[in-house]
């Protein structure tokens, strides 16, 4: 995947790679240590980096009332992606950096810029930023593309895609790429939506253009309760839409309720075929778990110590880890020296000094002054 050269004069653009190579030399590293060369080059070129993937937003398009697509041109550190993969997007909102995971909704065959399609939900920091505040020209940071929600099997296999809401985004990428690559098997896309259907006209058009692709949207908006319940995934529904479903490999992406019902159906009815799933979770900005339940027990995973212990909300994580025989690093034991600071991969904690409740996203916490309010995974 190549990067758009935007408005740079071509002579300058030709110098970009040799300049990049020079900036990555040991001499330059020595001259710019310990901050590193990125720190200084940022003065002139905010998207250049020796190693980080930074991208510029080149368009912001509303897809539906609550969904937006951002087109991004990444720098040279972006190594491309496979259809169906996702990435971590990091943006700075009100001075604070937030990182969330999004599927790539464009396909590799569509080239650069790549596209993320993001649905905003109430309380979603990053998704609402994307919907309301993202502007053309903003620079964001990306991770490398990752994930196994991809198809590497034979082109003759029938594939069934089941999606809910914005879970359609990686499937749209997969379908575009597979059709571009001349996939011969039948591609069926069963999609559930509450309101407007994402990529509706585009997928309908693909259905008309390709004999082996069918797009079947199921809309719940405006339906009465029994009809809305019927517009949920079921084996009956599936048999009606796609009678040969048992011969298909299935890709499911959507809310966990959808993933579970598809998984259950497959476990009983078609255990031989493979189920690929990609779940997404909405990380609201905390407080959901603020009511500390004295009797609640939580599973605390300490990755570095390779241990999972049972914990509670009444004592610091450091004390609980030590009581379980673990030996995480610590210093002052009162929250001032930050020696015990570690990454919280997931979970909610409460600060024992301030009473503040964290959000559920990845972040760093001090073990000595935080107690769990949910199951936790810690890099400690």
């Amino acid at each position: 995947m190549t990067t758009t050269r935007s408005a740079l004069p071509s002579a300058l653009a030709a110098l970009r790679r040799p300049a990049g190579a020079l900036l990555r030399t040991r001499l330059v590293a020595s001259l710019t240590a310990p901050r590193g060369v990125d720190h200084y080059v940022q003065l002139l070129a905010p998207t250049w980096s020796s190693s980080q993937i930074r991208a510029r937003i080149v368009s912001v398009d509303r897809e539906t009332e609550d969904t937006v697509s951002l087109r991004l041109t990444p720098n040279d550190n972006w190594l491309g992606f496979q259809a169906g993969q996702h990435l971590h997007l990091s943006v700075t909102i009100d001075g604070v950096r937030h990182t969330r995971t999004f599927s790539i909704s464009s396909a590799p065959c569509e080239g650069s810029p790549l596209r993320l399609t993001i649905r905003a939900f109430p309380g979603g920091r990053v998704s609402n930023w994307a919907l309301r505040d993202a502007r053309v020209g903003d620079v964001v940071e990306l991770s490398a593309a990752q994930g196994q929600f991809v198809w590497r099997g034979p082109a003759s296999t029938d594939l069934l895609f089941v999606s809910g809401g914005s879970g359609l985004t990686p499937i749209r990428s997969l379908v575009q790429q597979l059709l571009h690559d001349g996939h011969a098997g039948q591609l069926t896309c069963l999609h559930y939506a509450r309101g407007e259907v994402l990529f509706h006209s585009e997928l309908d058009a693909l259905g008309r253009a390709f004999r082996n692709f069918r797009f079947v949207p199921r809309l719940r908006a405006g339906l009465t309760a029994p009809a809305a319940a019927a517009a949920r995934f079921s084996l009956d529904e599936l048999s009606a839409v796609h009678p040969a479903w048992q011969q298909s490999e299935v890709f499911v992406c959507g809310p966990s309720s959808l993933e579970h019902s598809v998984r259950d159906a497959w476990a009983t009815a078609a255990p031989a075929t493979q189920l690929h799933s990609e779940h997404f979770r909405q990380v609201a900005s905390g407080l959901a778990a603020s009511g500390a339940d004295a009797a609640a027990r939580y599973q605390l995973v300490f990755e570095k110590s390779r241990a999972a212990i049972s914990g509670h909300g009444a004592a610091s994580l450091l004390e609980q880890a030590e009581a379980a025989g673990l030996r995480p690093a610590y210093g002052c034991r009162m929250g001032i020296c930050h020696t015990c600071k570690c990454r919280k991969r997931s979970g909610v904690v409460r600060n024992l000094i301030t009473g503040q409740v964290s959000d559920a996203a990845e972040g760093s916490i001090q073990l000595c002054v935080n107690a769990p309010l949910s199951d936790l995974t810690l890099d400690a």
Binding site: L31, P34, L43, T92, I336, C337, T339, K341
Partner: protein, 370 residues
């Protein structure tokens, strides 16, 4: 006479008063935490950008350093950038003051600063040892840096007669003195630390000192070709200026007149409020204009810094009046004065510590735990 006066003013707080003081100080911290936001983020990011601009332009000017005005301006800008990076940015970022921004380049646990002492070693010797055991004789290694006699409770030895010279040498080489500080050479001499342990600990320090030295004294001069002598001299001058400035500011933090030293405090059983009180009594502020506070990394607000080492330092001036009011309410002395006055007090302590106790009395009062 002053010694007597200070003795009379030592706070005698009841358990209730102490708890009340602790609660008031906690409340100040909570209020700041609630207010942290975009303006703090903008402040530190703009400061990082300014320090970077000062460094780049300072180094560029030194390449034209054969012209005296360019050389002088270059040294000025490079010194400024080093002071900002080391004090208002590095020291404060390393405390985790900006961790809430979740910005990897401003993360306390991974930041590496542009001076000789490796950040890892600093996080241990400063963030943990100094800030936890502040001014406890025999526990706070910043109390004389294993080199100087700064408290009456430290036994005198004739070698201390040389301490004014040692302090002057330390000021000029402060960057290296701090880098070596965490190696605990004094413990090796005393036989409580093995030579092997010293060699292990020394490796990262030697690497960082070399990297910093090569950059300023070999690579940049060589890159300048004919300007090499001017660049070498310019970098040396900037480092010396930064060293003397950092030494002066840091000595004003805990060594001016009236600062209390502690003996026999068991930090593990100390309450949070008692820890607060020790931080207040063991620290001293310097007064000055806004730019002075920024250039000192807000260590001029040493009292506020020691109460709240992980709050963004630019907030200290805003809360100083509240901290002072809480102190006055409970009769706790709040040590503040002009920079020259506090520095003179710290230097007097260096001179007095050099002399045998029979000749002089240190103003420090080794006080038992409260």
């Amino acid at each position: 006479m002053q010694t007597q006066a200070h003795r009379q003013h030592e706070p005698k707080l009841s358990a209730e008063q102490l708890a009340e003081l602790g609660a008031e100080l906690d409340a100040i911290r909570d209020r700041v935490l609630c207010e942290l936001g975009e303006q703090d983020a903008r402040y530190i990011r703009e400061l990082v950008a300014r320090a970077r601009l000062a460094e780049v332009s300072g180094r560029a000017l030194l390449f034209a350093g054969v012209l005296p005005p360019a050389w002088l301006l270059g040294v000025g800008l490079l010194s400024l950038s080093k002071v900002l990076e080391n004090m208002e940015i590095g020291h404060n970022v390393l405390h985790g003051q900006y961790d809430w921004l979740r910005e990897p380049s401003l993360e306390g646990a991974s930041y590496e600063w542009d001076w000789a002492c490796p950040a890892d070693s600093w996080r241990h010797s400063h963030n943990y040892v100094h800030h936890t055991f502040t001014n406890i004789v025999g526990q706070d290694r910043d109390l004389g840096y294993g080199l100087l006699r700064m408290a009456e409770a430290q036994p005198w030895h004739p070698a201390y007669l040389l301490q004014p010279l040692l302090a002057a040498a330390q000021a000029l080489t402060f960057e290296w003195a701090v880098a070596v500080h965490d190696l605990e050479l004094d413990a090796v001499l005393a036989g409580t630390k093995s030579l092997r342990q010293l060699l292990d600990d020394a490796q990262p320090v030697v690497r960082k000192v070399l990297a910093q030295g090569l950059k300023d004294y070999v690579y940049f001069p060589l890159l300048g070709g004919p300007a090499a002598p001017a660049i070498f001299a310019g970098n040396l001058s900037a480092n010396l200026l930064r060293n003397v400035w950092a030494f002066s500011v840091i000595f004003c933090g805990h060594f001016p007149d009236g600062v209390q030293m502690f003996e026999g405090v068991d930090q593990r059983t100390e309450s949070r409020a008692a820890w607060y009180l020790r931080q207040i009594r063991g620290s001293a502020n310097c007064e000055g204009p806004g730019w002075f506070h920024v250039l000192s990394g807000h260590l001029s607000h040493q009292i506020e810094h020691h109460l709240y080492p992980d709050l963004p330092a630019s907030r200290y001036p805003q809360i100083a009046a509240q901290v002072k009011a809480a102190c006055e309410k409970h009769g706790v002395p709040y040590n503040t004065g002009s920079f020259p006055k506090q520095l003179a007090g710290a230097l007097r302590r260096v001179l007095r510590g050099a002399l045998p106790p029979a000749l002089t009395r240190l103003r420090t009062q080794a006080a038992a735990s409260g």
